[in-house]
Symmetry: C2
Subunit: 507 residues, 2 copies
């Protein structure tokens, strides 16, 4: 039927129909119509919302994104008909019923996801059904390839291309700021696309943004990597595997990270940047995504099998994830800690060891170091200042200040110190609670917000000694973080008197 | 933080934030904020959508429904903070992981569903997880009670109150137009709330609307039932078990009807209208929702168990569902067929038998007829004109014309006759395909659209004899229905030559 066009300033794609017109066309909320602009010859399929009041009968509201394809002027006339059922919906239903999806079905779902043809209801059903029934390795491979195909791809002229990924879940994991420069300093190429924090206190992209811009196209990623050997950018701006962001949006409310989708998401990004080899960091332990070493081994073997199918050489490192990496959580605090280490301070501990171990694996895989010699080579690239110089080149080419120093990066001015309630040992640091407190303080949005942990698990403390400092940029945020810390008690100290475990009081 | 209010004419509840402000508050798309109107003292929790262009930073878009609670004037100032995580989301996650939900958890989900606190993503995850993992009888009982509690309830002073329900899936099932008058004519009370077609060619409410208005409050349902013994209204306008409509919206794209949700939906409506006894029609066979008699028995025993828990006496009738009930599909055609029968025409066949059988069961359950005598009593109420007089009273009290006759109800003027391609027998009538053709012709929206089946399954036909007539109110609809019929071939005729099965040609 013919309807008068009203262009509506709503960001999502779709159209709005009056319920009388929807009845005439024969569609319900959630159905699709095909809209024709007979003047321009353009047509598009769009999801239908229905109103009985926002529009008058005889009028169709066309949302901005949909009108981008149709090009209607306000007040022109559209021809509107009901559209055929999307094949993807039948494929999603098949997965809900426990079926295995074919390559074609998965490609269809991913294409419709990227084109925003699927409604939130339909996408959620796919993600939920995949989470509950799982995806087998064939399905994971199809999903990976479909995610690669529906986005940008980088092809380098020379090889090997190295990549690195951490599956996350452990706070303070700023190792990419060290690993990428070390690997690039060895002469290898590593075009690292990373994420912003969704549920965490700071993703690698949030951290790097303290030092330089991180939003680049995939063309720019390629050019910069060819010039200086590496980059650290935000994957969200590259159009690499764009389906992933939409799947994550659905997983977000439930804090799930379905294995099949996670495997596909990680490996699609590696494949799309042209990686030949990848080292995957799998933090293991209570408070992480992988609870036991057995689970970690299983996940590692899945990553390696998928790598083989995608022609990427994968090795995995199971790492200790029960307490934060290093001492800092939150963008500025973490960047400061990484720069201190790159500038040559003799800071022993988890951050140094983990960074060198992962760098070493990559150097060995790429043939830069003999088996067993990677760690030492990584250490020497760190000690001789080449890694710091490489980070400066990366900062510079991304548009930051190459002369930046650790002392320039300062935390928020509002601070609260938590002291040990008694003489004893730190027996627990709860990852999830630490992240929640850091987020309450404002991380990652407020770059200066976060936590500094003075006494890590196993440390001996005396009554009244500081064990954590909370930093915030705004005083009300600090107050809120302190309140939440009081409820969650992210740190426990045990006294000499065996068996007495005291919560730390946040007075 | 303080933001300038812009009231937005969007029908769903929620708020729109600029991404900069969302970052400052610490929320992402799909999170919730608490909005305070400090002038009026009102506050509300709302789902967040995020834009980088529709609004300027410093401004919050408040959707009409949400502002209904907050009462902001355009240009006033709102205080906006991040809100706590809904407990319902943890309960939904538990179901995704295969857990059993408690009464409290289910009540929370249903309350948040009715209040529109849950986003489409969250509701879909609940419906999908319940579909995949199933709900056990305790969960179904909790869901039923929660759906009753969160809506209107009718309490009658005198008892018993009777109800009737068909789980659907078979086209042409206009029996409520006969069963309700027959039962009410016996002196029993039957406040029938029915549905409009979602995927079908005409729900009972669509049919009744040909004769009288069907939109009433639950108060009016009570008053009218007390006066004339029965009503046939649309459940959607009563606020009885309002959660159901929202769950169905999610199931709609996938054409699913999850058993647990369906049991709860049916029985919540029976409980909310105060029914003491209910007869449930379960059509069985290929092309219906219940494929085998075994499946039908299992479903019947679930209905009876749930009835016992809800203190409603339930009996079920497994009915033949492999071909349409009667000969007509589509509102006017079905109403005409039912009126012809009530007016006393001697039309043998499935419509008469099914209507009397179901009426008879209810009459026996209520003690109006002795065991085994219900069918005969129903038949006499039909034959002696009391059922017709009762329907007229129902039509009148609902605001229709009590003098209406079968001949007044005419089908659409555009017609297409499909003839038998050879001498033989009708060997297949495909329910789903018949419905699709009737919908393509315009049913249920166009009341005159639909199908009349001249030769049902098993009928002997001669080449060139009409086997189906398609009716439409608009010629382009008729054309489309004919095209779709050509593709779907809803009827097959087999010749005398054994084994030769011919599709009917839609020339």
């Amino acid at each position: 039927m013919k309807l008068l066009v009203k262009v509506m300033d709503i960001a999502s794609p779709g159209v709005l129909l009056h319920q009388t017109d929807a009845g005439t066309i024969g569609v319900l909320e959630g159905d699709r119509v095909r809209v024709f602009n007979e003047a321009s010859g353009e047509s598009a399929t769009a999801l239908v919302s229905i109103t009985s009041s926002v529009l008058a009968p005889g009028t169709i509201g066309i949302y901005r994104k949909t009108n981008g394809r149709l090009g209607f002027a306000e007040g022109s006339t559209a021809e509107v008909r009901d559209a055929e059922r999307l094949a993807s919906i039948d494929a999603i239903k098949k997965k809900m019923d426990g079926g295995r999806l074919t390559q074609e079905e998965i490609l269809g779902i991913v294409k419709d996801t990227v084109a925003e043809n699927l409604s939130p209801v339909e996408m959620t059903a796919f993600v939920t059904a995949s989470y509950i029934h799982g995806l087998d390795m064939d399905e994971v491979e199809h999903l990976t390839r479909s995610m690669v195909e529906t986005g940008d791809r980088i092809q380098f002229a020379t090889h090997p291309i190295v990549d690195k990924h951490s599956i996350g879940g452990v706070p303070g994991n700023k190792i990419s700021l060290i690993v990428i420069p070390v690997i690039a300093a060895s002469g290898l190429r590593i075009p690292k696309t990373s994420s912003r924090a969704i549920t965490g206190a700071g993703g690698t992209a949030d951290l790097m943004e303290v030092l330089a811009p991180v939003e680049f196209s995939s063309e720019e990623v390629k050019r910069m990597t060819e010039k200086v050997g590496g980059v650290i950018v935000w994957g969200g701006s590259t159009n690499i595997a764009p389906a992933d962001d939409r799947f994550i949006m659905v997983e977000y409310p439930f804090r799930i990270d379905a294995t099949g989708q996670m495997l596909a998401s990680v490996m699609a990004k590696k494949s799309a940047v042209g990686a030949d080899l990848a080292v995957i960091d799998i933090p293991v332990g209570a408070g992480t995504k992988v609870l036991t070493v057995q689970d970690g081994r299983r996940l590692a073997s899945q990553f390696m099998e998928l790598g083989e199918r995608m022609k990427i050489h994968v090795e995995c490192a199971l790492t200790y994830g029960e307490s934060p990496v290093g001492h800092a959580i939150g963008p500025n605090l973490e960047v400061h800690e990484a720069l201190v280490l790159l500038e040559g301070a003799q800071v022993p501990g988890s951050l140094l060891q983990k960074s060198l171990a992962l760098s070493g694996i990559a150097l060995e895989m790429a043939g830069k170091a003999a088996r067993g010699q990677g760690y030492a080579m990584a250490e020497s690239l760190l000690r001789n200042g080449k890694a710091l110089e490489k980070l400066r080149q990366i900062i510079e080419i991304q548009g930051g200040d190459r002369e930046v120093k650790a002392e320039d990066i300062v935390p928020g001015e509002h601070r609260f110190v938590v002291n040990a309630p008694l003489d004893g040992y730190v027996v627990e640091l709860n990852n999830r609670a630490l992240i929640t407190v850091a987020r309450a303080a404002g991380a990652p949005h407020d770059r200066g917000a976060g936590l500094l942990i003075h006494a890590k698990k196993g440390a001996k403390v005396k009554q009244g000694e500081p064990i954590i400092t909370i930093y915030a940029e705004r005083s009300w945020r600090l107050q809120k973080a302190v309140e939440i810390g009081r409820q969650l008690m992210p740190i426990l100290v045990e006294g000499m008197l065996l068996g007495r475990i005291s919560p730390v009081h946040w007075i």
